[in-house]
Amino acid sequence: HTHLNYKLGLTLQNRTSEALTPAAAARDEFQEELVIRPLHSGDIYASFQFRTLWDTDFLQEGQKVSHYRLFPKSLGQVLSKFSVRELHISFTQGFWRTMQWGQPFIPSPPGAELWVWFHDTVSDVDGNWKELTNVLSGIFCASLNFIDLTNTVQPSASFKPLGLGNATDHRFLRYATLPREIVCTENLTPWKKLLPCGSKAGLAVLLKSEKLFHSSFHSQAVHIRPVCQDEQCTSKAWELRQTLNVVFDLYTAGQGKKEWSLFKMFSRTLTEACPLATSSKVYVDITDNPELSPATPLLSQAVVLGDRRTYSVFDLTRAETFGQLRSLNLLLRWKGDGEMLRPLLHAERYVAGFGLQTGEIHTVIYNNHPYRAFPVLLMDSVPWYLQLYIHTLTVTSKSRDNKPSYIHYQPAKDRHRPHLLEMLIQLPPHSMTEVTVQFERALLKWTEYTPDPNHGFYVGSSVVSALVPSMVAMNTNFTQDQPLFSSFVPVKEESSYFVRVYTEPLLVNLPTPDFSMPYNVICLTCTVVAVGYGSFYNLLTRTFQVDEPSLPLAKRLANLIRRIRGVPLLT
């Protein structure tokens, strides 16, 4: 009787919820994609993207979203509680070598990076930011709670929203990076649990930590932003993209042969698509004519990162892709003796100088375009304990002074705020531009040192953002069937594409005290006091008395008898 009532109640509830929100029920879709790109150096680059599109409004007043299907509930609750408009978080192990590997589909700096655009209704952005970092540290098992005001900046121009939004008020933007953050299986586990199929079906079965972390570069990220559903932007939706980029090394994982297969890379093969996915595809870059088996007739061309590339497409939602063995194992073999397309924009950074008092940060930006000049936006966030002397800032291109057209500088405040330097620099064609600034190292308080201070202190990567002129016309049309890797960054015009390059993080040694000194001082002082003062005290106050030695018992008894007899005693 009660069981029947419960069932009835449930159906009534479903009907009423449908009546109130006819669109909120199941208008979410999930797509997954894997792009495999053989690199010129013999390494292989695999890029996973998992996208969930959801037609709902987290930030709507009065109506709380409570029914989650494909969109993970933990992230949805975070978005509505903290009024987040855009969230980008990435965890990276290794450094992306632009000159050897080209440009990545989704760039990320080493360590952890988090940047968030809050909604303009938020009154206390800093408070929301602090709580948001704590919640995310619990979700991703990372030490994101170390993000506080001493390493957070508000870039004014470098990090424009990637989704919808006209707000250019950078008071609602927060950016922080933790270069020291380690990425390991404990970060991959919760990341995989956010996927609708988990790691049980679809492309995510390939994500095995033992192979993924045995690589030159591993980066996993979560990007959440509002997007347009169609060309005219009549309806908006929330997009969650989970991306994982990994580069397997030729020698450590590939045994020195330019011959790769899915099994060699991931120790797994694909057996089925995720049942909840509307599209599940594998793209293999065959522009340089590698040998690919099993062959497939499906080809697709896409212009991505300023280059027209040809891809073989494997559609996992079709059963014939898997063949008779019901498993798909791609084999790729290539010679790689041709010329690689030189990346047009590249940046490096290093610390010059000697000693533990001063130093100089050099940032070098290369423009490899033969005849076009273009502007780049350089953003530097330096912690307060490297005190920059901005009057020594020089920007030189081709050994001539190059004055930036826009400079936004916010000086650091000790223990409160880091330095923020943003400059718009015009790079001449085929040139190297060098930005140098001198700094002085601060002496930290005794408790501010980490448990391993002799390792050094990290300075986060510089970010170089630019619209690079493209050799090939970019596709500005908006189509729903675009592969995910080409639709990550919105393309506004045909003649250029957006590129973000991260430099190396810096490792600087601060003047480190010898932490064993208090112990040494105590030992030394106590020894001096004991030996010096103690001897002196003894000399002054000690007196000597003659003491009769006590005889053993036998002799004492003998003496007793001798005394009675009147005979001389023993000594």
């Binding site: 192990q93 602090k130 709580e131 704590n134 919640v135 540290s137 619990g138 979700i139 098992c141 990372a142 030490s143 709670n145 170390f146 020291r180 380690i182 990425v183 390991c184 299986t185 404990e186 586990t189 919760p190 095995k208 930590s209 033992e210 993924l212 972390f213 045995h214 980490t450 448990p451 391993d452 932490f515």
Partner: protein, 357 residues
């Protein structure tokens, strides 16, 4: 004679009637035993306090206890795992994303499904004490909190470098045995545990439980005061010692335990005798109210799961007599025959026994 007869018949009738009561007593005892430990949920706080690559074995120690505890049923949401350094994805690890406990890379205790709650610089004495006492800042996420109540059994495992009366955290600070005892007293006063098992694997570990004074605490240590705990074996491919001796044998012991196992604390005290461990493991049970022989290993390392309850109910219901056809209780027939024989001999005398035999 008649009086004697009456007495014996009464005795037999009493016996016959009391047999079904004995059965229900047995059932009640079994149910009582299930609830005698008094706990309804299990928590574990596993801490590795050492940093740097050459302390690989401390991380392997903690991860092997984590693995056993997960295998025996405690979920990740009830485990607070604190690792002071990352060994699995350390650049010196020849096999990334793995932490081995046995040489020749037999057992990977890191696994594929691990959630570390406090890692790196977050593992400090302050954070550890705050987790124990529950005095964390309000923005701390749930996975980093010890949300135990007065019906929780908590397992606390510490490993690292220690000395007489202290345990070193990350080579820069220490926790003393008095601080630990006070933290447990705070937990007792705030009703944050029902029973607590404290295991420590460091040099001179027994000094850390000397100062406990709160009730319901049981403690084990890998070595006595004045003794060093030794590491087990190095792996030449990885280049460091993989495990400490005490935790290695503890892991071997726990691998034999399954969720329904009846192994008790006395078996745990016997783990790693001096012949194997070189140091003498110690334990302290004077603050614990129950007899260690009646405390199951799974009371601390495992988890109280619903299916155990269902199993108990199934046991109890299978022992009740079936309602369909009624049989006289066992022993009734035997008692009846003894009564008949007694009456017969009474009447006819013993000398007629020879007629029967």
């Amino acid at each position: 004679m008649d009086y004697y007869n009456l007495l014996t018949t009464c005795a037999f009738i009493h016996l016959l009637v009391s047999i079904p009561y004995a059965y229900s007593n047995y059932v009640e005892n079994k149910a009582g035993q299930f609830f005698s430990s008094g706990h309804t949920n299990n928590w574990a706080v596993l801490v590795c306090t050492s940093r740097f690559w050459f302390n690989y074995r401390h991380v392997a120690n903690t991860l092997s206890v984590y693995r056993s505890v997960k295998r025996l049923g405690i979920p990740d949401s009830h485990i607070v795992l604190m690792l002071a350094d990352d060994m699995a994805c350390n650049y010196r690890n020849p096999k990334p994303a793995t932490v081995f406990s046995h040489k020749n890379m037999e057992l990977n205790v890191y696994g594929d499904d691990v959630e570390v709650d406090y890692r790196g610089y977050e593992v400090t004495v302050e954070n550890f004490l705050r987790v124990l006492t529950g005095r964390l800042p309000p923005s701390t996420p749930r996975s980093k909190r010890l949300l135990s109540d007065d019906r929780s059994n908590i397992l606390i495992y510490l490993t690292g470098h220690g000395g007489n009366g202290f345990l070193k955290f990350q080579d820069s600070e220490e926790i003393s045995n008095m601080e630990l005892a006070d933290a447990f007293e705070q937990m007792w006063q705030k009703r944050r545990y029902n029973e607590l098992l404290f295991i420590i694997d460091t040099c001179q570990g027994a000094s850390m439980y000397e100062r406990f004074y709160s009730p319901n605490l049981m403690a084990l240590a890998s070595s006595q005061v004045g003794e060093d705990s030794l590491s087990h074996q190095p792996d030449l491919a990885i280049g460091v010692h993989l495990m400490d001796k005490y935790t290695f044998y503890l892991l071997e012991f726990l691998e034999e335990v399954h969720p329904a196992s009846q192994a008790n604390m006395n078996d745990l005290f016997k783990v790693c005798p001096q012949s194997q461990c070189v140091s003498t493991p110690g334990h302290r049970t004077d603050l614990f109210q129950r007899n260690p022989g009646s405390v199951l290993i799974t009371d601390f390392f495992g988890s109280v799961l619903l299916h155990d309850m269902k199993q108990l109910v199934a046991d109890v219901s299978s022992q009740k007599p079936k309602q369909k056809d009624w049989h006289p209780p066992d022993g009734f027939i035997l008692g009846l025959w003894t009564l008949i024989l007694l009456v017969f001999f009474q009447t006819y005398g013993i000398k007629h026994l020879k007629h029967i035999f």
